[in-house]
């Protein structure tokens, strides 16, 4: 089976090589992601040459089928280590797919479903099994429709196991008590329920950026905890190239440069499960076109918060994440290769090897080398180290998390 696959790839490559010199002189910028390009319709597909193209992908006019193949290949190529031949027949490998009902995670769900079906039909078994988890984040207006979407997903892709969790479950599931210590102390904080704790924590934060940051950090932690408790060896994140580039710059802006390699690289994470980003070579705008072209059932499952709040930049509710996603939306339109270059470059950063015993941040759970907790005690901080010692008794937060949850100085 393996050699057939190789042969297929080889043919594919030859086809590419043959047509390499036929590239058109003009470069077309697809200004409206998701809309098909008129010019493309007049040309035959660059790959199969049989059918007329429906869109231009990285200056290559492609037909529907070849575009699907392009997207699938990019995602599946990232999952080579989960091929059937690597699977132990006596032990089914399980991976967790967090489903947010956004374009990326739904597309990934669809692609993996196809891939597993293909594996099954060819070999009678699959390389891995998938658990799907949806995390409900308070503030999503779409909560009512979640159950509906979830049952639609189960119907469309019945081979997977589905779980729905509320974000406050993170207080119930995380093994250590440190998260609880981050919640503001009130009279009855001992007896507070998880939803109350979460609400108290979020309400204590003073900016939209901090709230969004803490929510997404908690969501990641809950996903990790769920992966561990449900026996998944790794997590398949839906992040596209564009999303990873956004994350690179927004985590940099939030002072988390130190943890970037752990946040955007494939492989071992410091959390004890592997992180995989199968969509890392696909641009967001390409997936939007993909969903558009595939149609049902994929398009029925998508529920994205109405295109990023067009609110002005002066708005108090703008977050750093919003800023970056708006920025890369523009860059992606005009300079798609710069987006992938950001991700490729960040991928070259080398994670420091962190022993299991390394001190960790109480919120994001990332190892903090030399215990450099808090925002003090570095060149850019003018407070003397006295404060650092005082802080050592309270929660220990990394630089980035300290910015979101400021600790009162004692």
């Amino acid at each position: 089976m393996a050699w057939r696959c190789t042969l297929h790839l080889r043919n594919h490559l030859n086809a590419l090589i043959t047509h390499f010199h036929l590239q058109p002189r003009f470069t077309f910028h697809n200004k409206m992601p998701g809309k098909h390009v008129d010019q493309a319709l007049e040309q035959p597909c660059r790959r199969c040459k049989d059918v007329s193209a429906v869109l231009v992908v990285r200056s290559e006019p492609l037909c529907r089928e070849c575009f699907f193949k392009y997207v699938h290949t990019k995602a599946i190529k990232r999952l080579e280590s989960f091929r059937v031949r690597n699977a132990n027949p006596n032990h089914q490998r399980t991976l967790l797919l967090p489903l947010s009902f956004g374009v990326s995670s739904v597309s990934l769900l669809h692609i993996l479903d196809r891939q597993l079906k293909t594996q099954m039909s060819k070999t009678g078994r699959t390389g891995f099994a998938i658990h799907v988890v949806h995390i409900q984040i308070p503030g999503d207006e779409s909560i009512i429709t979640v159950d509906e979407l979830l049952s639609k997903a189960k119907e469309a892709y019945p081979d997977f196991k589905y779980t729905s969790l509320a974000l406050h479950d993170v207080f119930r599931l995380t093994s250590d008590a440190t998260l609880n210590d981050l919640c503001p102390k009130t009279n009855h904080s001992e007896t507070a329920s998880p939803p109350e704790k979460l609400a108290a924590l979020i309400n204590s934060l003073t900016s939209a950026t901090a709230r969004a940051d803490v929510l997404s950090t908690l969501s990641t932690r809950l996903t990790v905890e769920h992966a561990k408790t449900s026996g998944c060896e790794g997590i398949l994140w839906g992040d596209t190239t564009t999303k990873l580039a956004e994350k690179t710059l927004s985590e940099t802006a939030k002072g988390r440069g130190f943890s970037l390699p752990w946040q955007i690289s494939d492989g071992e994470s410091p959390h004890g499960v592997t992180f995989n980003y199968p969509m890392r070579d696909v641009l967001k705008k390409e997936l939007v076109s993909y969903v558009d072209l595939v149609g049902s059932p994929v398009s029925d499952l998508i529920c994205e918060p109405s295109a990023i709040r067009q609110a002005s930049m002066s708005s108090k509710n703008t977050t750093i994440d919003d800023l970056m996603s708006k920025y890369f939306e523009e860059v992606e339109t005009n300079f798609p290769s710069i987006v992938s270059n950001v991700v490729r470059t960040t991928g070259k950063l080398e994670a420091v090897s962190a022993p299991a015993s390394a001190p960790r941040c109480d919120l994001c759970s990332m190892p903090v080398s030399d215990g450099r907790f808090g925002i003090h005690g570095w060149g850019g901080d003018q407070q003397e180290s006295a404060e650092r010692i005082a802080i050592a008794s309270g929660p220990q937060l990394c630089y980035g998390c300290s910015r979101s949850i400021p600790q009162p100085s004692k």
């Binding site: 090589i17 990285r58 802006a253 130190f258 290769s337 490729r344 570095w378 850019g380 630089y399």
Partner: protein, 446 residues
């Protein structure tokens, strides 16, 4: 409405909202906090040594004006025991430097500091106006940038000064971090986040003891953690005179894009500028092969990082592409590389050159129908090997440094019968002449 009291002294009414953390302070407390922070930066990184003679790279702009003023204050208040002098570079752009140099002269008088103005004309034999006349407005920033980077070092060498401080602020550093992420330049990212950059003698095998060598000059940025907005406020409330102008030649796309992003970030979360700087320092430690990249955080000035053909902010850092097309050009280039890698058409051949430096040649084989593609090993991050320019002796990763290469091109095309007062008879040898002159100078002869 009664004015809010200052958050620090709680006595005076607050007059300034601090851009860094939006705290309301009175004027004296703001001055004090601003100065103390810079003092902290200087002492925690052991930036200065007693008895050191330090040249302040002075452009007449807000950053270098504030730097000169604060350093003078701190040197007196905390008795650093350093001698401060001003060093200005005159690019020779009429209407741009003329006025700002007047400002520098006034500052020199006011602060009682010795001032030296060196022109591109003296250093390279060309003013920027002459360069523009010859090469046109497109791409002239390459010349200006390359010349400027060496000019301060050359000037310092001429004065026998071993340490040059520049007015780069936190916004500049943050901007450079984001810009280098966008451009995918990790080595440069890791170098520019460091508070001390230098052209250390350790790389040079020859004459590290030469007192006038311009390859052994320490560069630092004491305002690395100071916000641009606070610098402006400080200058405003201290009534410092500075000259603000944009270069009349051109802007650049990558930095512009990063700058806009930084400004927006600051609006959303004021600490973001400092946070980007912190991220940059931390990422420097994660850059492959950069064990030295401590970003100045390790508190030792011995961790100097080679900085020769580097760009650190402000203008003069474009790669010679004119404004809007810089990003487009890079995008096109990257797209072609991606296609080549994907189609496995690119073969990289590495061999060792005569002088032991690695050279790489990229070959694109003819695309023949049905030809099997050779497999390509993944490209590693190229590590720059620093050597010396064989013409002028300046630190360079190439055999001949950029400035000498550019000068050669300029001089070749210089009109032969152009008559001008003070015209250099042998422009070809100008740089070598300068090197000769520099070697002949005594320490402190400036």
């Amino acid at each position: 409405m009664a004015p809010k009291p200052c958050a620090l002294c709680t006595v005076n009414p607050a007059a300034i909202v601090r851009p860094k953390d939006r705290s309301a302070l009175c004027k004296p407390c703001f001055f004090n906090v601003f100065e103390t922070e810079i003092h902290h930066t200087i002492t925690s990184t052991n930036l200065f040594a007693r008895g050191e003679r330090i040249a302040i790279g002075a452009s007449g702009g807000k950053d270098s004006t504030v730097l000169a003023s604060v350093l003078k204050t701190l040197n007196e208040r905390y008795d650093y025991g350093v001698e401060l002098i001003l060093l200005s570079i005159d690019e020779g752009i009429k209407g741009y430097r003329d006025d700002s140099l007047e400002t520098v002269k006034r500052n020199a008088k006011e602060y009682g500091m010795e001032l030296t103005i060196l022109g591109y004309k003296e250093l390279y034999g060309w003013t920027m106006d002459q360069v523009v006349e010859q090469v046109g407005k497109k791409g002239n920033c390459t010349y200006c940038g390359v010349f400027r980077r060496q000019a301060l070092d050359r000037g310092a060498a001429k004065l026998g000064v071993k340490h040059v401080v520049t007015g780069h602020n936190a916004d500049d550093v943050a901007e450079t971090v984001l810009m280098n992420l966008l451009r995918g330049d990790l080595p440069r990212l890791s170098r520019t986040t460091s508070i001390v950059t230098s052209t250390p003698s350790s790389v040079a095998s020859s004459s590290p003891t030469d007192p006038a060598s311009h390859t052994n000059i320490k560069r630092s940025k004491p305002l690395k953690y100071a916000y641009e907005k606070e610098i402006v406020l400080y200058a405003l409330h201290k009534n410092l005179t500075y000259f603000s102008t944009e270069c009349i030649y051109s802007p650049e796309a990558f930095r512009g894009s990063a700058r806009a992003l930084i400004k927006n970030l600051e609006r959303v979360r004021p600490s973001a500028i400092l946070d980007v700087v912190r991220s940059g320092e931390d990422m420097a430690k994660l850059c492959p092969g950069s064990d030295e990249g401590c970003g100045g955080a390790c508190g030792s000035s011995t961790s100097a990082i080679p900085m020769a053909e580097e760009e650190e902010g402000g203008c003069g850092s474009s790669n010679g592409r004119n404004a809007g097309s810089e990003m487009a050009n890079m995008d096109r280039q990257l797209a072609q590389n991606e296609a080549a890698v994907e189609n496995e058409l690119e073969v990289e051949i590495t061999f060792h050159g005569r002088d032991g430096t690695q050279q790489k040649i990229k070959k694109q084989p003819k695309k023949i129908k049905g030809q099997a593609a050779a497999s390509v090993p993944r490209k590693a991050v190229t590590k720059q090997v620093m050597g010396k320019c064989k013409k002028c002796g300046y630190l360079s990763s190439q055999e001949v440094c950029k400035a000498c290469t550019l000068l050669e091109g300029l001089n070749k095309n210089r009109p032969k019968n152009h008559i001008e007062v003070g015209y250099d008879a042998e422009p070809e040898n100008h740089v070598r002449d300068l090197a000769g002159q520099v070697k002949g100078l005594e320490v402190g002869s400036g």
